[in-house]
Amino acid sequence: VSDPRWGREPGLLWRSTPFAVVVRSRRSEETTVLGGSGAKVWELIDPPVTVADLAGRLAGLYSADPAIVASDVTATLEELERRGIARSIA
């Protein structure tokens, strides 16, 4: 069984600015603002990727340990899912 991939929820309204990413789902009453590594995660999950791939790319970008990055990435993705702007695709 292959690892699930993570991608953006379809139908989102968003803007990517030099300062942060602003995202809103069609039904949400809140806008999510993603800065720093959150914005990078948002950028890298389109097209969808596995946690391992995403962690590897972020570890390369930030010269960090992929195992530690993977744990942070999973938490971030789960938070984005809770906010209705990312989803895991089996």
Partner: protein, 367 residues
């Protein structure tokens, strides 16, 4: 000082502009004044980009201010787009055709990145024959109409459109034509609806105006919408001319058929002058050579003189309404509107007439 700086921000990223951004951070007072103007004129996307790319040097605090203003504006943009897609869905379910005007359509089509173009409301064009139904749909969606129509049927026959505040505190303008008064009434709406450009927001397909008609809409808005055109409206015009190469012959033919040659020429020359762009586009040469007759100058002045322009425009519109029965119906509505139209703003019809006559008298004396 800030007017010149603001124009330089409005011209940021345009090829061929002679505006120059500062080469060192501004003092705190000038920065605060500029930021306030840029926010109210919806130029924060351009300022944010200029600051982030270091085309506009800032202090750390100014960088933070620019970022905060940009994110606020983009939060509003996505909230407005949320309302837009909801209304577009509802109007489609009721078989009301829609064209998205200005802000969102311009941001997604003509700018290198939609975050460069901030906007503060939603503008939708609907056909005259569907206008009353569209008003009902927006009201059901939570829209509170700002002003009633003078008499039933007035909107779908004569008005520019009407405005709503939604429950979410955002403004939605339903348009039947581009502007109020004589220039709005002579626009051939069949021309406007003939073609379209499709785009998507979220997972909803939307229709906007085709390239040339879109440029015409922006020119009417810039030249007639405010006494002093907004810099973002002027930037839109130059952005389209310089990046999308609209068909000048088609733009001119439509403008002249609608009796709006002077409107478009004024908008194009003002945009190029204020943003200091030397354009080689054929529209620039045409607009520069355009000569406006005295009657048209007087009509243009109805829109651009300071003060309440509505009474003068309303009276001048009579000549543009075809046929005596329609003229009579129009005059009856503006002279003797329903009480519900009068009462929110005036104590009586008499007070309304008095104010209108004083405004019209002032306009003609200024002539």
């Amino acid at each position: 000082v800030t007017a010149d700086l603001e124009a330089a921000v409005a011209a940021h990223g345009l090829r061929g502009t002679s505006h120059v951004l500062p080469d060192a951070p501004l003092d705190a007072e000038t920065w605060a004044a500029l930021l306030a103007d840029v926010r109210s004129d919806r130029l924060v996307g351009l300022l944010g980009d200029a600051v982030a790319t270091e085309a506009f040097p800032t202090t750390a605090q100014q960088y933070e201010d620019a970022g905060e203003a940009h994110l606020e504006a983009m939060d509003l943009a996505v909230r407005l787009e949320q309302v837009l897609v909801d209304l577009a869905d509802r109007l489609a379910q009721e078989d009301v055709p829609v064209r998205v005007l200005k802000g969102p359509a311009i941001a997604h089509r003509f700018y290198p990145d939609p975050s460069l173009r901030a906007f503060g409301d939603i503008d939708l064009l609907v056909p005259s024959e569907h206008f009353d139904r569209a008003v009902r749909v927006v009201a059901v969606a939570g829209g509170n109409r700002q002003h009633p129509q003078p008499r039933p049927g007035f909107d779908r026959r004569f008005s520019k459109g009407t405005s709503f505040f939604m429950d979410s505190a955002v403004e939605v303008d339903l348009h039947r034509t581009f502007v109020s008064g004589p220039f709005g009434l002579t626009i051939d709406l069949d021309d406007v609806w003939r073609e379209s450009w499709q785009f998507a927001l979220g997972d909803v397909a939307l229709q906007a105006l085709d390239l040339e008609t879109c440029l015409l809409n922006l020119c009417y808005h810039a030249a007639l919408g405010d006494a002093v055109p907004r810099l973002i409206s002027l930037r839109d015009i130059v952005q389209i001319i310089e990046s999308d190469d609209p068909d000048a012959a088609r733009v001119v033919a439509l403008a002249q058929r609608w009796g709006g040659g002077a409107v478009v020429a004024r908008a194009v020359t003002t945009a190029l002058r204020e943003l200091r762009v030397e354009s080689s586009h054929p529209l620039a040469a045409w607009a520069g050579a355009y000569r406006t007759d005295r009657r048209t100058e007087r009509l243009l002045a109805m829109y651009t003189r300071p003060g309440n322009a509505y009474p003068g425009q309303a009276l001048a519109a009579v000549r543009s309404i075809p046929g005596l029965p329609a003229k009579a119906s129009y005059l009856r509505a503006i002279v003797w509107p329903d009480r519900s139209y009068v009462s929110p703003r005036y104590r009586s019809r008499l007070e309304r007439w008095g104010r209108a006559l004083r405004t019209i008298g002032r306009l003609y004396r200024q002539d």
